[in-house]
Symmetry: C2
Subunit: 210 residues, 2 copies
């Protein structure tokens, strides 16, 4: 695997390739050409080859790519094989939905704990996980060593929660509060999800179609 500063444009395309290859693999498809993959992904065959060659030559001339092998390689690049533990903090509407809707397992992530401040939610079960009170977080993290935290709390509480989790060893934050959460250091990664942004680009696109 080559690597050495791959552009984020490439990295952003990989999850889509990975998803499609997973579908193919499940469907029992053995091989695929860059052309066929490109058509499905809505990009050029050349781009697919260029993207993959950032990491190594996974294909075979005259044959194409072995679906399952390529799937595993991309998975390894993205870190799907790492099996990180994750916690989710904030069982509102959104937290509840994320826990249920996002296929963490498919991405090599194990959601091991769900926490909230609200006492009334304790004991409730989501995806087979009992909701715990935030006061149990420290002890829990010492045991399970989660590396990723999904933050689905109110703006006001989000930053404080990140700090606490950083001290407990969490290094990746997937933040859904409507704010720009900043990583406190280079060792920490924050991904801010702004659902509304993609809605606005949708608005832009339909503007002159009306």
């Amino acid at each position: 695997m080559k690597n050495s500063q791959v552009s984020t444009a490439v990295i952003r395309r990989l999850p889509r390739y990975y998803r499609y290859l997973t579908d193919l693999s499940i469907a029992g498809v053995l091989k695929i050409s860059s052309k066929a993959l490109a058509d499905k992904m809505g990009v050029t065959a050349s781009q697919i080859r260029q993207d993959l060659n950032c990491f190594g030559g996974f294909g075979q001339q005259g044959y194409g790519y072995n679906v399952e092998l390529l799937r595993q390689e991309i998975g390894a690049i993205l870190g799907v094989d790492k099996n990180y533990n994750a916690v989710l903090i904030g069982v509102g509407n959104l937290g509840h939905a994320i826990a249920n809707h996002v296929k963490f397992e498919k991405r090599g992530i194990k959601l091991v704990g769900i926490f909230d401040i609200d006492e009334k939610l304790m004991g409730q079960e989501i995806k087979g996980i009992k909701v715990k009170h935030i006061s149990e977080l420290d002890e829990f993290c010492k045991e399970y060593q989660p590396k990723i935290a999904v933050l689905t709390l109110a703006k006001a509480e989000t930053e404080k929660m990140m700090k606490q989790l950083c001290d407990l060893g969490v290094i990746g934050f997937w933040n859904f509060a409507n704010m720009e959460l900043k990583a406190p250091s280079d060792d920490i990664t924050v991904v801010n999800v702004h659902l509304g942004d993609s809605l606005m680009t949708l608005c832009y696109d339909i503007k002159d179609k009306i």
Copy 2:
């Protein structure tokens, strides 16, 4: 306003500018320089100016940009001033969360109808809107003329629903099913939201920080 084929890279940045300018405006800030805005957005001042000049010169040399004016201009570019009606189909965990969490009004969108197939959900109120049965959709659309549909249904039902809504005049689809929904024609825009993709880039980023 210039326009004439602005790159998607530019368009994708606008919602972030818009969000921040809204915050500033609410805070009562009157002016901002490209440098100050750039620092907050994590881009260069030159890029901010370049981006804005795709649409026109909204600033003033020696002064900067008027916050509220720039906010409105970007809003107009994105179509926030259009006040589209929208419907949401599928009141599962996710549909429920999207309806509550996403600030449609802030983006010039009015969520006017929420629909589901499940009879048991009828009458339930979300954000002051009574959930209606899918059988009422046709009549409803004829009256309210929604241009945007938020699809939070199962994969299997999503495509069929899009077709039905297309016939009813919907031209923008915000799809949350884990699939690549394709626009049936160039007059229709589909934005597929794959929450998991950003989680995978997060995994990639923390891979060598561990």
